[in-house]
């Protein structure tokens, strides 16, 4: 323990004394959140800002570039800022889904360089506390009998990742996701209000946003869509897989850079992420921002993204989001 701590401290000290050497070109790091302040991308950038603070000589700036569900930033880094060595842009699984369904235009995941992750969040199947559903099995049985008998709602449009979580549940029962009764709201807040008010019966949200509602006891989480059971307030909540349904939805949060960034600069960022992952500060800021550990940088991340993209394309094609 003490040795670990000593090593971490030594590592930090080393990175503090050698910032100019380690970050030859990265002299004014910037994290671009492709949305309005206050949302998920903002949080993603805050993780980098705090977590990477010790890795660079200069403090990281967070800038906002909302517009077109992240498409504006994605296109900018594919057209004009392709070689900006100072800037990383936040992305999530939702952005990958948009790439897969062609919402971001002609550019694909191969047109940017994925650098590192900030952490992960997971899908959650939520009902009201007094709902007739007490287990995922009951809900799935109803969905299997008639996919349009249950009113499902969430904060994203049809084809967004919120819809995708619901579509995966319906697909697991063997029915077509297009038969589902899905109600699209403007953001998770409105959808939670509709769930509490009884307008919708099931809400497919995220674990991160449910954390603040768990103690209040006005909603019940039927299942988390993670591979393994989570800790903390969710220790009692079984995963969908435990209940016998092979559905999983990990929301990966991370960062990409332009395609033409030099290998040396790219490596500087990858090393910075890897060094930060080893520090207790990184774990702390991840927890503070409601994220669960998922630390991938460089090639590891690229491999994961490629695997994700293949799955996303497959699901999206099945769900009718990609027309051939």
């Amino acid at each position: 323990m003490t040795l670990n701590r000593f090593c971490a401290a030594a590592l930090m000290a080393a990175s503090l004394t050698l910032p100019t050497f380690a970050a030859a070109e990265v002299d004014s790091p910037e994290c671009v959140a492709p949305a309005q302040p206050g949302g998920g991308f903002d949080l993603t950038c805050r993780v980098a800002q705090t977590g990477l603070a010790a890795q660079f000589g200069a403090p990281m700036q967070v800038t906002f570039m909302p517009g077109g569900i992240g498409a504006v930033a994605f296109n900018l880094f594919n057209t004009t800022r392709t070689d900006d060595a100072n800037a990383i842009v936040a992305f999530s699984t939702g952005s990958l889904l948009n790439i897969a369904t062609g919402k971001y235009g002609a550019f694909t995941e191969n047109d940017v360089r994925f650098v590192g992750t900030a952490g992960a969040d997971f899908g959650a199947v939520v009902v009201k506390a007094d709902s007739k559903y007490t287990s995922l099995e009951q809900l799935m049985a109803d969905l299997a009998a008639d996919p349009s008998s249950v009113v499902v709602g969430a904060g994203g449009s049809v084809g967004s990742q919120d819809w995708m979580k619901a579509a995966l549940l319906v697909r697991e029962t063997g029915a077509s996701p297009m038969k589902m009764r899905y109600v699209a709201f403007d953001g998770g807040g409105d959808a939670i209000a509709a769930l509490l008010g009884g307008s919708i019966e099931v809400y497919t949200g995220d674990v991160g946003e449910m954390a603040s509602h768990m103690e209040a006891g006005d909603m019940r989480v039927l299942a988390v869509m993670a591979d393994e059971r989570l800790g903390g307030a969710f220790a009692e909540v079984p995963t969908a897989k435990e209940q016998g349904f092979d559905v999983e939805w990990t929301i990966m949060r991370g960062f990409y850079m332009g395609k033409d960034v030099s290998d040396a600069d790219y490596q500087t960022w990858v090393d910075a992420f890897k060094a930060a992952y080893a520090t207790p500060e990184w774990e702390q800021v991840q927890t503070e921002k409601g994220l669960l550990p998922l630390n991938l940088a460089g090639d590891e991340l690229k491999a994961r993204v490629d695997a994700n993209m293949a799955t996303l394309r497959e699901i999206a094609t099945e769900a009718g989001l990609i027309q051939k």
Binding site: F64, M65, G67, I69, V151, S157, S160, W163, E288
Partner: protein
């Protein structure tokens, strides 16, 4: 009741600490300025200052008090440029231009500014009193408001706005239609299909309301001013030392009270905010003013000024209710405040009042103080603001242009939006040339989007059964009210005509 009083006592204990008191005042002052600048509104003010408040390492209650001060300060400030420049300072202040600016043109800018400050104060205070007394109860009611109820609410809003019909019914309807068409741009949430985006990623998520407001109002007004300047029709306004009179307050007291309540209830509902509240309040008041009001509203009627200002400030307070009591953000700005709470590891919701009373009640108490502070800050500044009108036009026009461009660019940082406000400005200027009123365009834009989304939500809930729209007492009540606002003035008009005929 005892809980509320002891809670408030705790809250005032927190909010009256010298440091927090200073932050309330600072926030309110900064908010007023942010609100007054066209392009920057409460949502951007809070969003821009959130990282700063977080970075300064304030205790959570102090940071929230500062941010909340900026929030309602901006709702106060939005009226200033509406009245003086005919450019809404933020989206909730669109309706304020209708009677506020004509008053300024008549040399009554000071009167308009001070009256609207009082109306804002009353609206804001009524909202915070109702919030402390019935907050949790109201929030419980607000979540039961289903998409079908929202459809009924929008029908009511459209009905009360029928009074906005100006000289030409056709042009008003066309204007509303243009607004509806602008609202359809972007990804359709019910099918995931991009509508009218023509492959432009910048409008994939639709056109931001603020851009429509700044473009159609701000830039169009600018072009109008330049045109007048070139053609030499521009009149210089006399120095204006008018101030609100007791008679004005006596005349508007019921308007302010009614609109505060309307604004508060619409604000409490998640999804509708200050812009809908002020529009409904203005429409209702114009209807209530009868035949005489139809002539004076829109030409500088004090009631037409007081109504939207009381309503938008009450709505700003109302929007805090579901955020604080349920952890559900009811508007864009409260969503950011919720994000701020989460950044400080505070879980909003019913438990916040039990677990962190100093934050929940401190915030509420700071709203009482903030409202008083804003009135005190705003009244003496009226003279200073009013003098802005005496700035020669050849300085003022470029100044508005710079403010609008900087404001829009600072929020989004996307040059495309600058082209967008310019195009919309030219379009708005053409519409004005053709004698269109721009208010129906804006309202079509706001209400149309809400109407379409909720109608389609309601129908997907019912599986396509239209009966869902009328099978609930809340919807029926709203339809009845809608019928009433349309029918009563017609009936009154007829009776008045009959009485006049009988006299002859």
């Amino acid at each position: 009741m005892g809980d509320v009083l002891s809670g408030l006592a705790t809250g005032f204990g927190v909010a009256l600490m010298p440091f927090n008191l200073m932050l309330v005042l600072l926030g309110c002052f900064a908010g007023t300025l942010i609100g007054a600048l066209p392009g920057l509104g409460p949502i951007n003010g809070v969003a821009i200052l959130l990282p700063i408040a977080y970075g300064l390492g304030f205790p959570p209650e102090s940071a929230l008090i500062l941010l909340a001060g900026i929030y309602y300060g901006a709702e106060y400030g939005g009226r200033i440029s509406s009245i003086l420049l005919n450019v809404p300072g933020d989206s909730g202040a669109v309706m304020t231009t209708l009677d506020g600016h004509p008053m300024a043109l008549k040399g009554e800018a000071g009167r308009a500014l001070s009256l609207s400050a009082v109306a804002s104060f009353v609206g804001g205070t009524i909202a915070v009193v109702l919030m402390s007394l019935f907050g949790p109860l109201l929030a419980q009611f607000a979540v039961t408001f289903s998409p079908a109820n929202y459809v009924a609410l929008m029908v009511f809003a459209f009905a009360s706005l029928a009074s906005l019909v100006g000289k030409s019914t056709v042009k008003t309807l066309l204007g509303a239609l243009i607004g509806l068409m602008l609202a359809t741009i972007g990804i359709d949430s019910n099918t995931g299909v991009a509508r009218y985006t023509f492959g432009l990623p910048d409008i994939l998520a639709g056109i931001d309301f603020l851009i429509v407001v700044v473009g159609l109002f701000g830039m169009a007004e600018l072009l109008h001013l330049v045109e007048q300047q070139v053609s030499g029709k521009l009149k210089t306004l006399p120095v204006d030392k008018s101030f609100v009179r007791w008679a004005d307050l006596a005349r508007t007291k019921w308007t302010i009270l009614r609109c505060s309540l309307i604004g508060f209830f619409i604000g409490v509902l998640p999804g509708t905010g200050a812009s809908v509240a002020s529009a409904v309040a203005y429409g209702t008041e114009k209807r209530m003013a009868g035949a005489e009001g139809q002539k004076t509203f829109g030409t500088g009627d004090v009631r037409g000024l007081a109504a939207p200002e009381a309503a938008n400030n009450a709505a700003a307070g109302g929007a805090m209710v579901p955020m604080l009591t349920l952890g559900i953000p009811g508007s864009g700005t409260t969503a950011i405040l919720l994000g701020a709470l989460l950044m400080f590891n505070i879980q909003p919701g019913p438990l916040m009042f039990a677990q962190r009373p100093e934050i929940a009640w401190g915030l509420i108490a700071s709203m009482y103080i903030g409202n008083v502070a804003l009135l005190i800050i705003n009244l003496p500044l009226v003279g200073l603001f009013a003098r802005m009108l005496t700035i020669p036009q050849h300085y003022l026009t470029p100044l508005i242009a710079i403010l609008a461009f900087v404001g829009i660019y600072s929020i989004v940082g996307n040059p495309f939006d600058l082209f967008m406000i310019t195009w919309l400005g030219i379009f708005g200027w053409f519409l004005r040339k053709l004698d269109f009123s721009l208010a129906p365009v804006i309202l079509g834009f706001v209400l149309g989007g809400l109407f379409e989304n909720n109608l389609r939500r309601a129908l997907s809930i019912s599986g396509g059964d239209w009966m869902i729209l009328v099978d609930n007492w809340k919807s029926l009540l709203l339809y009845a009210l809608a019928l009433l606002v349309v029918a009563v003035p017609v009936w009154m008009g007829r009776r008045a005509r009959k009485m006049a005929e009988a006299d002859i």
